[in-house]
């Protein structure tokens, strides 16, 4: 048996456009997904994540490259012979069958004897916490319940890999949060590899062991949630995952892994260097997350001075927009740990900003 549940080796998929040209939906991506991993494909719509998932399921065939499931090359194996199952975005529950009929369908296809089917369907419905719903029709269920049936229908086949295509997209926020935790819980219980497609960065960060951030058919960065959030390798990734500040500048010096950056010709800032092959004078982007910046009312050593232009109270935090130079503004988030009247600063206040240079990243422009 292979070390990996799913491997993609230089996989591309192009579709013909109406003008007869070929457009690449997926462009030479390579991924190795481990057994039992919760792996997310994250990116904006049209980035190729769903196409990638559909190629693993077998609904699309790659125009180039190879897909292996459990070490076995899939070639042109049809979907019904692959040991993967999918939970569709719209659930795709069979409207003319009951919940039981839906969940049992895949087992019937495998010609499992009916007492065993009954047992396994009951077990699957218990797993997704829908016991006793066997005789309902999909139309009689709420969105969240339909989602669970779709999940049970796929899991009951005990696939090597479960594919999930934005399964929570149609649910409201509160239910989503609940289902995120529950999915994670179910995955731990069944120990199956999950490949999860989403455009919701928060969802991906919450649930995944590893995330592949995709854009325009390519994987831009692959790593754990913390790696992706803390050390984005490109402006796209930094921008797509969470909120962040970007300051255009040029590199002045690099010493002991610490870089000094000149922004707007006047502002000197320091940051943990990203790459070693940076040259002096090179145009770069300095990025720092809003919650990593502290605000002070008096001048501190190495602090950047600024003025509060705008502030928004958003419950847990207050979000400040601070003007630090003629052309540059930084967003700062400060947790509201004290009582409401203690919320320190007002519009127009002069403030001083500090951050740990290690949390500021330098990206090549």
């Amino acid at each position: 048996m292979s070390d990996y549940a799913v491997e993609l080796i230089g996989v591309s998929k192009s579709f013909p456009t109406s003008k007869g040209e070929q457009i690449a939906a997926v462009d030479r991506i390579s991924l190795s997904i481990k057994h039992g991993e919760f792996f997310s494909l994250l990116g904006p719509s049209g980035c190729g994540k769903t196409t990638t998932l559909r190629m693993i399921a077998g609904f699309e065939l790659p125009t180039e490259g190879e897909i292996r499931i459990l070490g076995e090359s899939m070639g042109e194996t049809p979907p019904y012979q692959r040991r993967v199952n999918i939970v569709f975005q719209n659930y795709a529950l069979f409207p003319h069958m009951t919940v039981y009929g839906n969940v049992a369908f895949g087992l019937e296809m495998d010609k499992i004897p009916s007492p065993e089917i009954r047992e396994r369907v009951t077990e699957a419905l218990r797993l997704v916490r829908l016991p006793g719903m066997e005789d309902r029709r999909p139309k009689q269920l709420s969105g969240g319940q339909q989602q669970r049936v779709a999940l049970a229908r796929a899991l009951v086949k005990r696939p090597a890999v479960l594919l999930l295509d934005e399964p929570l997209g149609a649910l409201d926020l509160k239910l989503r949060k609940e289902m995120q935790l529950e999915l994670k819980h179910i995955q731990a219980e069944v120990g199956i590899t999950f490949i999860y497609v989403t455009h919701d960065q928060e969802e991906a960060l919450t649930m995944s062991d590893r995330i592949a951030v995709m854009s325009e058919g390519q994987v831009l960065q692959l790593g754990t949630a913390a790696e992706i959030y803390e050390s984005p390798l490109s402006r796209f990734v930094a921008d797509f995952i969470g909120e962040t500040n970007f300051l255009d500048g040029e590199l002045e010096t690099v010493r002991d892994g610490l870089a000094t950056v000149l922004v707007d010709g006047t502002l000197r800032l320091s940051a943990g260097s990203a790459a070693s092959d940076l040259r002096r004078g090179q145009p770069i982007i300095l990025t720092v997350r809003p919650e990593k910046i502290s605000l002070h009312s008096r001048q501190l050593d190495g602090a950047v001075a600024g003025q509060i232009e705008e502030l928004v109270y958003i419950g847990t935090d207050t979000r400040y927009q601070v003007r630090v130079s003629e052309g540059s503004r930084l967003v700062v988030r400060v947790q509201n740990s004290g009582s409401a009247d203690q919320a320190g600063f007002r519009q127009g206040d002069r403030v001083y900003l500090t951050w740990d240079p290690a949390v500021a990243r330098i990206l090549v422009r």
């Binding site: 399921a57 077998g58 609904f59 049809p78 979907p79 019904y80 993967v84 199952n85 999918i86 569709f88 719209n90 795709a92 529950l93 069979f94 409207p95 003319h96 369908f105 895949g106 296809m109 495998d110 229908r153 796929a154 086949k157």
Partner: protein
């Protein structure tokens, strides 16, 4: 100003109410228009004299006569055979065509689509005479020359014509059902281990069935009712029900026709009920 507003609103609602009353009156007048002739027809089918306007007493005689009317029964049998066969054939071909046109792009697809709609749009009489000419001047002579087989107009030629005009109707109805068809259901079935064959019979076919049955019902009704195409492809030996009724109606009005019409009305009502049951199942 305020007063002006008030009167205006008052006038508006009065207009609205008048409009509502007018709508209702119009509708019930139309229903009267549609149903009075039919009701008169039914009532006088039970009259015990030959009059279709003077009620002289209740009788079932006219109905009893129908059942001993040999030519009528033959016509009824012809109609049912033709409707049955043409419905089966047209439903099978129309459904396959709808599936093919919906799923597989091929060359000439748009021109074929036009051919499929044309029989619905062109006047029926044109289709009738075209089949008459085709059979008499091309098909029969060719058959005679090649196989030395003599064929004349009759039940087979009527059936051929009915299949031709029914295919487009079945096609349109099934195709409409396919437009709203969620293809991910088929993908889900395949993902769960069903091959193409089982996916079709377990998922696609049951979900299309109301559309297919609706198309079949339409075809059956159209075939039973058809007069023009039938008239031109029937020849003289084998009249269908509409041809038989037509020959009676041309001669005048009699309670016999009333009774026959009432039977057909009851049959149509039966079909309406079936179609409603089918719709409810959707």
């Amino acid at each position: 100003m305020i007063a002006g507003c008030a009167t205006r609103r008052g006038r508006g609602s009065l207009l609205l109410r008048l409009g509502k009353t007018a709508l209702g009156a119009n509708a019930w007048l139309i229903f009267a228009f549609l149903y009075i002739p039919i009701l008169v027809l039914i009532v006088f089918s039970f009259n015990d004299s030959r009059s279709v306007a003077h009620w002289t007493g209740f009788s079932m005689d006219w109905y009893l006569r129908l059942f001993s009317n040999e030519p009528l029964l033959r016509a009824a049998r012809n109609s049912l055979v033709i409707a049955g066969v043409s419905t089966l054939a047209a439903t099978a071909m129309g459904t396959l065509t709808a599936l093919g046109m919906d799923r597989y792009p091929f060359r000439l697809r748009s021109s074929f689509d036009a051919i499929l709609y044309l029989p619905i749009v062109i006047p029926e009489i044109v289709m009738g005479i075209s089949l008459l000419l085709f059979f008499n001047l091309a098909f029969f002579p060719l058959l005679q020359a090649l196989l030395h087989f003599r064929m004349t107009l009759g039940v087979p030629t009527i059936t051929v014509g009915h299949i031709a005009f029914n295919i487009p109707f079945v096609y349109v109805i099934v195709r409409a059902r396919l437009v709203g068809f969620d293809r991910t259901l088929e993908q889900a079935a395949q993902d769960l281990g069903a091959n193409e064959w089982r996916t079709f019979w377990r998922i696609t076919f049951p979900l299309l069935l109301p559309g297919i049955l609706g198309g079949a019902l339409m075809a059956f009704t159209l075939s039973l009712d058809d007069f023009l195409v039938t008239a031109f492809t029937a020849g003289t030996a084998s009249p269908t029900m509409p041809l038989y009724i037509y020959s009676l109606v041309r001669r005048g009005v009699t309670p016999e026709i009333n009774a026959l019409s009432t039977v057909l009305l009851a049959a149509s009502m039966g079909l309406v009920v079936i179609s409603l049951v089918l719709q409810r199942r959707r």
